[in-house]
């Protein structure tokens, strides 16, 4: 059940330039599945809208969740200033996660780009079969330790500082990586390339999409994406990313 609450911050660390990690206490931890997200609200009344942030890691036994986010503006800059013992206003759990059962008995490739990398940590942790993780960064790596611990890890960096110089698609080609199913989250050009790649190789791909949103619960109709078929809720070719998504089968969405 969705709820809005204040969650106690247990730890905040900087992972790379502008990339921060927060562990916080919440009983939502027993419900969250990989690929779901929460809305985080700044305290400053001038920044009203929630920041949708995907769940990076779940510690259900200890009722803890982890988010990893990038400072992108005033709201996330406020979050980065929080300390242990402060509280975080959150709404969740939101959306539908990756269908992990689809990967059963298959080689799964998890592809994350930039701030789309964090949800791959819990996804990799919960997958039981062969798991390949391909992560695309600008320059500095983050979450590489967690990802390496739960799959074969390949990095791509814009700068060439680590792994393949170039995109995640370059890393896949250079390392001759192959898989039976793809779970991906990242910037739109990356998702478009993965959709094409998956179609060409006839692999099922699930993409986690992002869009500006206001309510996070399906009421405002702000965060829609174009769909191939008429959506069952909207009755037009639009699905709500916060509610029908954020994870969609690649062939279902027009991106």
């Amino acid at each position: 059940m969705k709820k809005k609450e204040q969650a106690l911050i247990l730890e905040q660390t900087m992972l790379a330039k502008d990339i921060y990690s927060i562990w916080f206490q919440t009983d939502m931890a027993s419900e969250v599945v990989p690929g779901q997200f929460i809305c985080v609200y700044p305290n400053n009344d001038s920044t009203l809208l929630p920041r949708p942030i995907s769940v990076c890691e779940v510690d259900a036994a200890n009722q803890k969740l982890r988010i990893v986010y990038r400072i992108a503006g005033a709201g996330t800059r406020e979050f980065a200033a929080y300390n242990t013992g402060d509280y975080l206003w959150i709404l969740g759990p939101l959306g539908n996660g990756f269908p992990l059962e689809e990967a059963s008995g298959k080689r799964a490739m998890l592809i994350g780009g930039g701030i789309g990398i964090p949800p791959m940590v819990e996804t990799a942790k919960q997958l039981t079969g062969e798991t390949i993780v391909v992560a695309g960064y600008r320059d500095e790596l983050f979450l590489d330790r967690e990802l390496s611990a739960n799959g074969s890890f390949y990095a791509a960096t814009d700068s060439g500082a680590h792994g393949t110089k170039g995109t995640v698609m370059d890393a896949i080609a250079n390392n001759h990586l192959q898989a039976d199913i793809i779970f991906a989250c990242g910037p739109m050009p990356m998702l478009v390339a993965i959709k094409e790649y998956a179609a060409k190789h006839q692999i099922k791909a699930y993409l986690s999409l992002e869009e500006r949103m206001a309510c996070g619960v399906g009421a405002c109709l702000g965060c829609v994406c174009k769909t191939k078929e008429v959506d069952h809720h909207s009755h037009v070719h639009n699905a709500r990313i916060c509610t029908e998504g954020p994870v969609f089968e690649a062939t279902e969405v027009e991106i």
Partner: protein, 300 residues
């Protein structure tokens, strides 16, 4: 303590309602608030056929508020009647359906179709700034507003509320035109036309370029317009614009509104409607107000 208010013969258990477009038909907020506690649910706008709405991004944050350009995406009246109205029948709250259209005929088609459905009132959206084909034009010219209001009034079996745009030179002229044409009540304000430019991308923040500004940033404008309209017409007013809590609701009542809507703040706080209702009751207790109607237009 009495919190009941009456508009056009319809009695609401309290004056707290939901602003159209910010609450769906209540389904998405059902797990946060008890819909039975609300004075009314005013639904998202519904047209005769499904509308696809505007390109994304459809929302953008602004200082103390937000811009939206959803473009009245809706599934059309038949789905709405079967799904949304059926859902709302479970609750002991009044239902006000927001009606949109691109031509007079489209408005009339929806009004006629809803005539025998479980609907208490119709709110006519002639003030959406995000739909280019007509809609707002009806709400920005007094003679057009008079014309569409009288045509709807002729066929509607439900009391009607004309929803007014703040994007006009003198909102009282519009209010008087709607009243003269027979509107049973007025609701105001719809959003203010605004724009945001992303300086990093050097592009408009919204796919539609312009959008409607809402949230606490617009509240003083809304209070002022409610006051002006309340002094210009005799029909009841449903006031809205940035209401976040009971104190804000009281302010609108004192300015002359008979009921109020919580809008954009539902997105920020999914419990905002219920908290506003409790806040209003606390205010009444604190100042010994026996009847909420004593507050309506009490500041002259």
């Amino acid at each position: 303590m009495n919190t009941k208010v009456t508009i056009a013969g319809v009695t609401f258990q309290n004056p707290i309602m939901t602003a159209s477009g910010t609450f769906g038909s209540g389904m998405e907020y059902d797990e946060f608030v008890d819909l039975n506690q609300l004075g009314a649910v005013i639904t998202k706008g519904v047209a005769n056929v499904p509308w696809v709405g505007n390109p994304t991004p459809r929302v953008a944050e602004t200082y103390g508020g937000m811009l939206n350009a959803i473009g009245l995406q809706n599934p059309g009246m038949e789905v709405f009647i079967q799904r949304d109205l059926e859902f709302l029948k479970q609750y002991d709250t009044k239902v006000i359906v927001n009606v949109c259209g691109k031509t007079v005929e489209e408005y009339l088609e929806v009004v006629e179709r809803l005539s025998d459905e479980a609907v208490d009132m119709l709110e006519i959206n002639v003030s959406c700034p995000n739909v280019k084909e007509g809609a707002i034009a009806f709400g920005q010219k007094a003679d057009c507003l008079y014309d569409i209001t009288s045509q709807i009034k002729k066929i509607s079996k439900k009391p009607i509320i004309m929803k007014l745009s703040p994007n006009v030179t003198d909102i009282t002229e519009m209010a008087k035109a709607a009243e003269a044409a027979g509107s049973d009540a007025l609701s105001l304000i719809n959003t203010l036309t605004g724009m945001k430019i992303d300086i990093h991308k050097r592009a408009f923040a919204l796919g539609n370029k312009t959008g409607g500004l809402s949230g606490p940033a617009i509240k003083p404008i809304a209070v002022c317009m409610v006051y002006q309209v309340a002094n210009a017409v005799k029909i009841p007013i449903i006031g809205m614009g940035g209401i976040a809590n009971g104190e804000d609701a009281v302010e609108f009542l004192l300015a002359g509104a008979t009921a109020v809507c919580v809008g954009a703040m539902n997105f920020v706080n999914p419990y905002a409607t219920i908290e506003t209702k409790k806040g209003l009751e606390e205010y009444m207790v604190r100042y010994g107000i026996e009847d909420v109607n004593e507050l309506i237009g009490a500041v002259k």
